[in-house]
């Protein structure tokens, strides 16, 4: 692996910046301009992030709300669903995206031609896509079961069974967002300098060995960043469950986002709804901090 490492060393590995927490490096009018450039975003952040979050925390300040939640079996089941939805939805998706990104790097015209079609789910708006999934799977005569019937298979009632309904939601979610992450990994692979591949070739690393010893170390941090970002976005996903299974059967496939919505609007208990979603914060905040750290590491390492 020596030549690979040489190439990497040449790419400038090394020093980690350990800057002070606030260390302005610009002065005078430069600083004034820097602040002026940051003001629009700071305003958005204060008005539409800090304020609503503070408001939410204030609405859900009563500790007894959390007691009510935990003693409610529906909430406990929703937490389990959310963990399954996020755990499978994110990890299966990331793994597939990583594998498919390698596939799309192959130089074959029919693979190049497939890419635009494969990107279609990302461009297709969520509501039409999920409504289509709903109709495709509903009842005995949706498209999927009709196709299965052609093969002589009696398809299941997808939304009558909690596991199947949950799996349907996860599949629809992966369908929608897989192209986005695949493209990100394709971008990551493209950014690996050609010399690295050549050096690996000289050292006789091909196929799986090249993947494990060359590509994975280089893409590892990108994979971590994408997984964390995708986790945060998936926890907040409302549309998929609300449109595909609609929580069926009998609210047993709800996730925190849809449960919070129902508590707030259908049951007219906004405080309880907010408490339900905010109960995910002890998991979400560490993930966010991890994401920020991972991005920082990446910025200076390669």
């Amino acid at each position: 692996m020596s030549s690979v490492q040489q190439v990497l060393a040449g790419a400038g590995v090394g020093h980690r910046l350990r800057g002070a927490i606030w260390q302005p490096r610009v002065h005078g009018s430069e600083l004034a301009w820097a602040i002026a450039f940051l003001v629009p975003y700071a305003a958005v952040f204060l008005a539409f992030v800090i304020y609503p979050v503070t408001y939410a925390l204030w609405m859900a300040r009563d500790p007894s709300l959390y007691g009510d939640l935990v003693s409610n079996p529906r909430y406990v089941r929703t937490v389990v669903n959310t963990a399954l939805y996020v755990g499978l939805g994110v990890n299966v998706q990331m793994f597939l995206a990583l594998v498919l990104s390698g596939f799309f790097m192959r130089r074959r015209w029919w693979i190049k031609a497939l890419l635009p079609v494969f990107m279609l789910p990302w461009a297709l708006p969520a509501i039409p896509a999920y409504v289509s999934f709903h109709w495709m799977l509903i009842g005995e005569e949706g498209l999927i079961n009709s196709l299965l019937a052609l093969l002589g298979i009696q398809g299941p009632l997808w939304f009558q069974d909690r596991r199947l309904a949950l799996a349907s939601n996860i599949a629809a979610y992966i369908w929608k967002w897989l192209p986005f992450w695949t493209l990100t990994f394709v971008a990551g692979r493209t950014a690996i300098p050609q010399e690295v591949y050549e050096a690996a070739d000289v050292d006789g690393a091909r196929g799986f060995r090249r993947f494990a010893h060359v590509i994975l170390p280089l893409l590892g941090n990108l994979y971590l960043v994408c997984t964390l970002l995708c986790t945060l976005w998936t926890v907040g996903d409302f549309t998929t469950v609300a449109m595909v299974s609609e929580g069926a059967p009998a609210y047993s496939t709800d996730v925190l986002a849809t449960l919070g919505f129902q508590y707030s609007f259908d049951a007219a208990q906004p405080s309880l709804g907010i408490a339900a979603v905010l109960s995910a914060l002890p998991v979400l905040i560490p993930i966010t901090i991890l994401l920020m750290r991972a991005l920082h590491t990446r910025q200076v390492q390669l």
Binding site: L38, P40, F45, P128, M136, L229, G236, L291, M292
Partner: protein
Amino acid sequence: MKGRARLRRVLVEAASVALVVVLLIWSLTPVYNMLLIALDPDEGDIEFEGIVWPQDPSLHSFHTVLTQGYWLVADFWHQLGNSFFIAVMTMVLTVVIGSLASFALSRMRVSRGWWLVNAPLLTYAVPASFLVIPFSRLMVSYGLANSLWAIVAANVTFATPYAILILRQYAALIPIELDEAARIDGASPVQIVRRVYLPLMAPALAAVGTFALLLAWNEYVYQYVLLSSTRNMTVAVAIAQFFNTDEAPWNYMMAASLIYSLPPIVIFYTLRRYIAAGLTRGAIRG
């Protein structure tokens, strides 16, 4: 040995052709299903009769939607206009706010603290859908209740952190010496942004703009909660409204869905080249 290598190559090719077929089916089935239902000529409630092929295809449902010939699609064009307004405003504001902030954070070296530079990402610690209720109450106090601007504000809030992230990564690839040279020539920061930064960032800006546009076109829950009147509704909400009636014509619903899907698809494929370039170069490097 040679024969074995050839066999191996043939097997690899066969496997990749098979994978292409699987991916084609995977990607296109839901779209095909939309077409299948939209092409059904029956007005009123369609029974799902187990068809896998349109037996009597008709463009009647598209005609009805485009001429607003049914009460659920009576404001279709106006609602499509609303969707456009939200998407375009989200895109413009995200690009403007994001590029200014990313310039200050990455080119002016305001701070080296990792937490300050990445602070926008804190937005994602509380997902958008968790904040609908405080957000809607807030909008009442900001005087933006039932206003399209409320949706734009929400979209910009949740699109900008990712935009800043991507733009900062891409900016790191542009040599800082360019800025310094411009500065020595007496350019002000505004001129550097306009003459140096923005032109060189064009692919990343296209990528980020498309991301914001698709985010706005995908968004549903804020539009559903915040826009109460039919006139201010967007197409996404109007489509979901079909579920609220018992004998809704699903072919109209799918025709409306397909029409609603066209603009982002057109924009996406027009800008595809730039998106790939914008994501590519910033992806691994910091």
